[in-house]
Amino acid sequence: MPILEHLWIIPLLPLLGSAINGLLGAKWPNKIVTSVALGSTGLSFACALEAVREFIAGGQAPFRKQFFDWIIAGNFRAGFDLQLDQLTVVMVLVVTGVGFLIHIYATGYMAHEGGYYRFFSYLNLFMFFMLILVLAANFVLLFVGWEGVGLCSYLLIGFYFLKKSAADAGKKAFIVNRIGDFGFMLGMFLLFRAFGSLDFQTVFAKAATWQPEAVGQFGTLTIACLLLFMGATGKSAQLPLYVWLPDAMEGPTPVSALIHAATMVTAGVYVVARSHVLFTHAPTAMYVVAIVGCATAIFAATIGLVQPDIKKVLAYSTVSQLGYMFLACGVGAFGAGIFHLMTHSFFKALLFLSAGSVIHAMGGEQDMWHMGGLASKIKVTFWCMLFGTIAIAGFVPFAGFFSKDAILFATYQSEYSGKALYAVGLVAAIFTSFYMFRLIWLTFFGEKRYDEHHVHVHESPGSMTLPLMILALLSLVGGWFAAPALWGGPNYFADFLAPVFGNAEAPGGEAAHSLELTLSIVAVLAATAGLIVAWRMYSGKVVRGTSTGLHKILYNKYYVDELYQATIVGPLVWLSRNVFWKVVDVGMIDGSVNGIAHGTEAVGDTVRHTQSGNVRSYAVWVIIGALVILAIIFWPLWRPAFFVATSGGVR
């Protein structure tokens, strides 16, 4: 059966799984819940593969179909339209594939947690919304998925809702995302205002014909792009809205892996890449994107240098890597950005899952200063994590190398102060490799810094290690699409995406090629530098020192949270409590409601004396009313002739 014609099946399956588990799962044993969840996601993955096969077989012609109308108001139409082109192919495969692996992992990880069915119901629901997001063929439907994944992330961050920190983290994520979504919606409205439609096809087609705006010019496109990017910064945790992501680590580790590393946080990148036509026509916006991305990359990386919590380190690393992706988009290398998105989703999911495995082994311990010397105890996890680390640090021939290299190369070539951005990116790369290897050493080497009598380190079950190995393999080979480019061959990935992004890629050429080689060697050297520094500092016997000076600032994440608390949250709370609650709500609204009630009561008290309870009196009242009404009706005809004109009225 041609899946491509029935694209809706792919998102529908997870939705079904979610519904079944959510409604009936409470009573069921974990086995059934597991089979439902895995079955739905696995099937949807299979469907996605089939759809992609048909897509390739069909000559890679972009597929669009309007399944049914959702909103029709005036000349505005938002339909349930799905589309499948090269970009979507990459996203769908990543979402379903990685999602499926993480589902498998979660069955092992959550086995002994409460609310098993709830967890998987949420997880499937997330899959549904994410697929809607990537498959949508217009901004409105995309926004549905956008909000949906936000909701699921909220639900899953606050999964242990009895823990106050978890609940707060959930709320924080939700509220911070609201700010971004606000911008996103404004962007949508502006686009509709400008193009009279929100279908990707029409919007981009019309936009392509527009005159590109100059740098520093804030035309419609620029503003729209900036607003869209505002949404992206919220969803993808860029400056200044990144603050929710580190706290989001309160959620279960599979969630951190799936939502906050592999898929959801990359939604912003996807949106920017999807609307690349708009961005390429608005260089100012591109510039902003590049700068913000670059800044985020270095900023988060610096914070990541000193974090003690294994998941926090990975979280900041995620933020930083997302910065890389935006940097790529900003300099016009959308292909590179998506490429990094894919590889990153591989190795970052791998890292998170491995971290989860470590935490599992340590019985819930997350502080790296209480680990150490685990390499010999949990070999599989160790090797997988090592693979991930090498990949993210960017050593040949791991996935991270190719994608990051592509980004840095594109940045270097960008005419908008490309060199500077490149330098910053390179530094960020050094930091990356440093904190990753710091993590490795603190966790797996050195002497034990935990109490063996309480903690019994043990390797995780197969259901957890199997996905780890698969992901490790992927993060090794994931980047080889672009490998031939090194010796001047074609870059298969870029070529695959070319139909979408046109020739947004930097032009090749012999000089460019040699330059690329140089740059990649530099990148590898940078990674090595980071590795060496980490080795010098953290191999052997290490102690947690008292943090002072710069270290202290970094340790406290530049006091950003405190800053926000003082500047935004605090005043807002004060305003709400003292004005909106005590004055507006209590005073006006409640006051008016109660006033109406009291008024009614008073009126009733006086009027009720007419209620004799005698039906005949009521009858007379009815008659009086009828007389009045008739009088009003016939007032215009009220003349002496009225009563004698029984025969032949006035006409």
């Binding site: 005698n614 007379v620 007389l627 008739l630 029984t646």
Partner: protein, 166 residues
């Protein structure tokens, strides 16, 4: 003075007489009987206008079902003569005049509105049962179904009211 006119006046007189006696009779049964007289007279008028089906239905349903229910209930409750109490001052003094005023008002209004209309002619094709049923099942099918629901509800209500709580 043509035959239809004579018939009309006879029937009208009967109807009015029945209505008046409905008011004047002291015993509910007699009131009911006078009301039946009114209804039969009206049925005659319908026939005079050529609305046979309505006339038949008028007698079957009104005369044969509804009024029978009234009589039945009156017998069941063994209602005696009504006591002419005057507990409602309003009704006692203002009631009848106001009622008459309203009646005159309506009469004037209706008469005036009907003055220019042609005289109703018995038209078989117009009011044949076929026409009515066609109309009932095509144009008015929705209200028709609604009335069926209404009847269902009424039946349920009657049953609920009738059963003794136990």
């Amino acid at each position: 003075m043509t035959a239809p006119l004579i018939i009309f006046f006879v029937l009208a007189a009967v109807a009015v007489f029945g209505a008046v006696s409905l008011i004047l009779q002291k015993h509910p049964i007699h009131s009911a009987l006078s009301l039946i007289v009114v209804m039969v007279a009206l049925a005659g008028l319908y026939l005079l206008m050529g609305a046979e089906f309505v006339a038949a239905v008028q007698i079957i349903v009104y005369g044969g079902a509804i009024m029978v229910l009234f009589v039945f209930v009156i017998m069941l409750l063994n209602a005696g003569e009504e006591e002419r109490t005057n507990l409602s001052r309003l009704a006692t003094y203002a009631g009848i005049p106001l009622a008459l005023a309203l009646a005159g008002f309506i009469a004037a209004a209706i008469a005036r509105s009907g003055g220019y209309l042609p005289a109703p002619a018995p038209n078989g094709a117009l009011t044949s049962t076929k026409t009515l049923s066609m109309l009932l099942f095509t144009e008015f099918v929705y209200p028709f179904e609604l009335t069926s629901f209404l009847i269902l509800v009424a039946i349920l209500g009657a049953i609920v009211l009738a059963q003794r709580e136990n």
